[in-house]
């Protein structure tokens, strides 16, 4: 377990931003999803110690957030959403300064600054003033400052904000590398579902200050029945709706069949069915729900009721 929240409530005056949330963020990359105002930034700020919850407990790497802020800060890195940077410093100075403030001796901080700037792809521009960087370079230097002290957990708030497609791809590739090769745990707060799909193993979906879904991505996107997407040749071949007891075929508007397979049916049965009707299978894929469907379903289910879509046994959520 990387991060744990127990009955956390965050209020800004009369407005409740996070309402009695309990959630576990497992190791690996976790996407924190939600629409604007859902409460994901508030959770991040509370975990970072920038906002104090009204009630509840938070733990990061088994350390209580409130009691050991400095120990936690030495173990976490944060990449803020907003375009902010330390003025009057070049990339190398900014990163090495924050390394020193994180407790590294000056020499080690310089070495680490060079390393992380190389890692994020800013080795050529490291001696330029950060204020003169492009948006993509600023995002990278923000990631470098989050990484300089070699934290175990990274909080990335909208890391692809303002990036062009190439920059976005590079950033996501970097985040993937951090998880896969360097073993970092990443909590990625975003409202861009494709970013989460590209990087994360599991997700936490928030709506109106509550967690409405959480679990491994693979489990959340899987369906109860197996559903195949089938394309046949010739395209005008018509299959019966219930050709076999465990196979239900529905023709979609795009001319493809959605074949719902019961427990006894297999892909082999689908091939046989098509062959029986004088056609051949051109494409057969197992259908998975997209994250967008999961997200919209969870958000709609969560509005007005206290329910959580759970994605697996590991998910331990109560709202």
């Amino acid at each position: 377990m990387t991060v744990k929240l127990d009955n956390v409530v965050i209020r800004y005056g009369a407005h409740t931003a996070v309402d009695d949330v309990s959630v576990l963020f497992p190791q690996g990359a976790v996407g924190l999803l939600g629409r604007n105002g859902a409460g994901k930034s508030s959770i991040l700020k509370a975990l970072l110690g920038l906002v104090r919850p009204v009630s509840g407990q938070m733990q990061i790497l088994d350390l209580p957030q409130h009691a050991t802020p400095n120990e936690i800060r030495a173990r976490i890195g944060y990449m803020p959403e907003r375009d902010c940077y330390l003025p009057a410093l070049n990339g190398f100075e900014a990163v090495s300064l924050l390394g020193q403030l994180s407790g590294l001796p000056a020499h080690d901080a310089y070495r680490r600054a060079h390393e992380v700037l190389y890692l994020v792809g800013l080795e050529e521009q490291r001696y330029r003033l950060v204020s003169g960087y492009s948006t993509g370079m600023r995002q990278k230097v923000k990631l470098a400052t989050a990484l300089v002290h070699d934290p175990k957990v990274l909080f990335l708030d909208e890391p692809t904000n303002g990036l062009d497609p190439d920059g976005r791809y590079e950033m996501l590739e970097l985040v993937r590398e951090l998880c896969r090769d360097l073993g970092k745990s990443v909590i990625l707060s975003t409202h861009i579902l494709q970013d989460v799909e590209a990087v994360c193993d599991s997700v936490v979906v928030m709506e109106r200050g509550r967690v409405v879904a959480q679990g491994p991505l693979a489990e959340l996107t899987s369906t109860k029945d197996r559903v195949f997407l089938l394309q046949v040749e010739p395209p005008d071949l018509r299959l019966p709706v219930r050709a076999m007891p465990d196979l239900v075929c529905e023709l979609s508007a795009e001319g493809r069949y959605r074949v719902r397979a019961g427990l006894a049916a297999t892909a082999r049965d689908v091939f046989a069915l098509v062959q029986q009707h004088g056609g051949v299978v051109r494409e057969l894929t197992l259908y998975r729900r997209s994250l967008e469907e999961v997200f919209l379903g969870a958000v709609q289910a969560g509005v007005g009721q206290a329910g959580v879509v759970q994605g697996g046994a590991a998910a331990e959520v109560s709202v």
């Binding site: 800004y12 407005h15 110690g49 400095n70 030495a74 803020p80 003025p87 403030l101 407790g103």
Partner: protein
Amino acid sequence: MGFFSATIEITRQTLRQLLQNRMCLVVGFALVAIALIGYLLGGHPPRELKGSHLYALMAWWLLGTVLLPWTTLYFGVQAVHGDIEDRSFQYLFLRPVSRAAILLGKWLAVALLCSVMFTVGAVLLFFAFAARPELWPLGVETEMAVAFAEAMAWAAFAYASIAVLFAAKFQRPLVFGAFFIVGLQMFIGNMPAQAGIRVLTITDPLRRLLLDGIDPDPRLARVLWPSEREFKPDLIGHPLLNLSIIIAVTLVLALWFYTRSEYDSRSRE
């Protein structure tokens, strides 16, 4: 990184940041221009004022009452509130360093920069008048330069602590700063000695510190304290103690607000 080394590092970085601020250059030019005006004025002294009177008049009213407070307030607000405005404070607050060390580092940087600038400015202005021996019938009074340099240094530290307090507490620190300088400093600070409310200002102990340092004749005393027609040495009291109390109290308050405020909370936005 320990508390002390973090403070020094923040001081170093803040100084560097402030030195790149265009305002630094503007104030530098203003100090040179004031010295130049002083030199030109010394050639045609109004109402047969002596060099010490002219110097006190310009150093106190231009540097000590106007330029130094505004400059220090501006730099203090830039150093502390600038981070809050552009959210770069998050980089600092998320390091395992005490917020108190961050604020003290910034305060020290502002105070050091302004004290050096205005001490040099006061000495420069003194040389501008000292270059005209005819203004000093009893010889050039170098103790005036020393007294003013000391007063400028103390003033910079005191105004820097006010600036960081306002920057840490208020969302519009310059507005409150303007109220403080115009309302408290210029109005209340120049009240007669009987007005106890003067102790809330920096002007008052600074003026007494100067008067203590320069052993003024009645006319020079009135230049510095127009509301006090008959200056008596027992009015001086303990200016350094008063200034130290002001600095300590405002710094403690600033630290209190800075370490406890949730600058990222939506209600503040």
